[in-house]
Amino acid sequence: AQRQPLNYQRAESNLDLTPEKKVTTYNNFYEFGTDKADPAKHAQALKTKPWQVAISGEAEITGSFNLEDILKWNPLEERIYRLRCVEAWSMVIPWIGFSLGDMLKRFKPTSKAKYVVFKTLHDPAQMPGQRNRWAGGGINYPYVEGLTIAEAMHPLTLMAVGLYGKTLPPQNGAPIRLVVPWKYGFKSIKSIVSIHFSERRPRTTWHDLAPNEYGFFANVNPSVAHPRWSQASERIIGSGGIFSQKRRDTELYNGYGEQVASLYSGIKENHFF
């Protein structure tokens, strides 16, 4: 897939970026296979044009929108975010996109809209993992993720359409994906075709598959271990081979606590995961 250069407002950051090659070849996108190298191998033919996103549920404006039009609503900006996977590794990625909240406000969600539910494309013809349970890791597709309306409206929550200056490659969730930097990576759903405003909390994919391992909130928290491994520290996927590896201590809310901790002041469940 050919990636197009984007026009965007550049960002400054003192974080060490993960090399582009690693960002685009180390992906969890089970629709294209469960090995992290699979998506880069099997996703290249994904058809991302034309692309529509269906808006539904508790909002005044609903319907189907062309991605080209959605892209005209807000200027693109670069956001350099830490990404922390629930598997205890991390990257730093220069995303390009716009704030999800700015997009959602256009649809005028009603007071009943307590949650925002996202769905990934369901197209077994294009996605081998959806054709075959072995290839897809036994997940029920389509992949579904959700946020509370407050999380969705938070200025850090990004709808990304690019990385490293160009449009997203398919393996990273082209053409449009979510990025929620204070949550484990599986919350940041890829290749979105549907956004639904809901009154009730949705059933989400990984939480449904293993509720004791993956919570609905899934906020990065070093003091809450995954049942099978510690979350206290993380291995940095950076440049260099096995002799130049680094670990770092995992930060609460992945280091974005100052901005987002207030979202959870009344919610006990969050302390678990």
Partner: protein
């Protein structure tokens, strides 16, 4: 049914092939991981490669005796110890990579993981058993231990079961290759049920 190998030189040739098949990939992948040419996460790749390598060698080791009986080739049995030692070799590198590259020699954290993560505990116990078998694999020790040596080395079967459990348990999602390995391993253990039952009685 013809024998697979009948002469000493054939046995040596076979051993050479096994050495090559076990050592060359282990060295080559380490080299690729060192120069950052083994995927985006060379640490994970290397750990998985050595882990699965140990599983493959373990299957090969346990298949030697049925194969030699089936093809009436007693000479084959002379490869078994060597294959068993490669199981220990791969398993040890699997653990060393976890300790040195994944955890940067943070001993306290590693000990914590071994104790608190069941799938790691299970793998570690299997490795301890393999080490017991390795250190008693010299012919001299074998002769001295006599019947007790056979009892001790039958621990390879429970270790095998623990390895397969460790492999399956380490996976994030329920449907994966490790399930196929566990299935094949169950079949293999089932085919050896008579020896296993005899051994259980002996230990009791």
């Amino acid at each position: 049914m013809p024998q697979l190998i009948t002469t000493k030189p054939q046995l040596w040739a076979l051993k050479l092939v096994i050495h090559g098949a076990c050592l060359l990939p282990a060295i080559w992948l380490f080299y690729l991981a060192a120069i950052d040419d083994l995927g985006a996460d060379p640490v994970k790749e290397l750990i998985h490669f050595y882990g699965i390598g140990a599983v493959h060698c373990l299957f090969a080791t346990l298949l030697v005796s049925p194969l030699s009986r089936w093809r009436k080739t007693p000479l084959l049995m002379r490869c078994r110890r060597m294959l068993g030692l490669y199981v220990a070799f791969y398993a040890t590198f699997h653990i060393l990579c976890f300790l040195v590259f994944e955890w940067q020699l943070q001993w306290i954290d590693v000990i914590d993981e071994v104790i608190r993560r069941p799938y790691i505990t299970v793998g570690f116990i299997a490795w301890l058993v393999l080490m017991a078998l390795t250190t008693t694999s010299l012919k001299l020790i074998q002769r001295k231990m006599g019947a007790r040596w056979v009892q001790l080395h039958s621990l390879v079967y429970p270790a095998f079961a623990l390895v397969l459990l460790h492999f399956y348990w380490s996976q994030k999602s329920p449907w994966n290759d490790a399930l196929l390995y566990a299935l094949a391993g169950t079949l293999l253990l089932y085919s050896k049920r008579k020896q296993l039952l005899a051994w259980v009685r002996l230990v009791k």
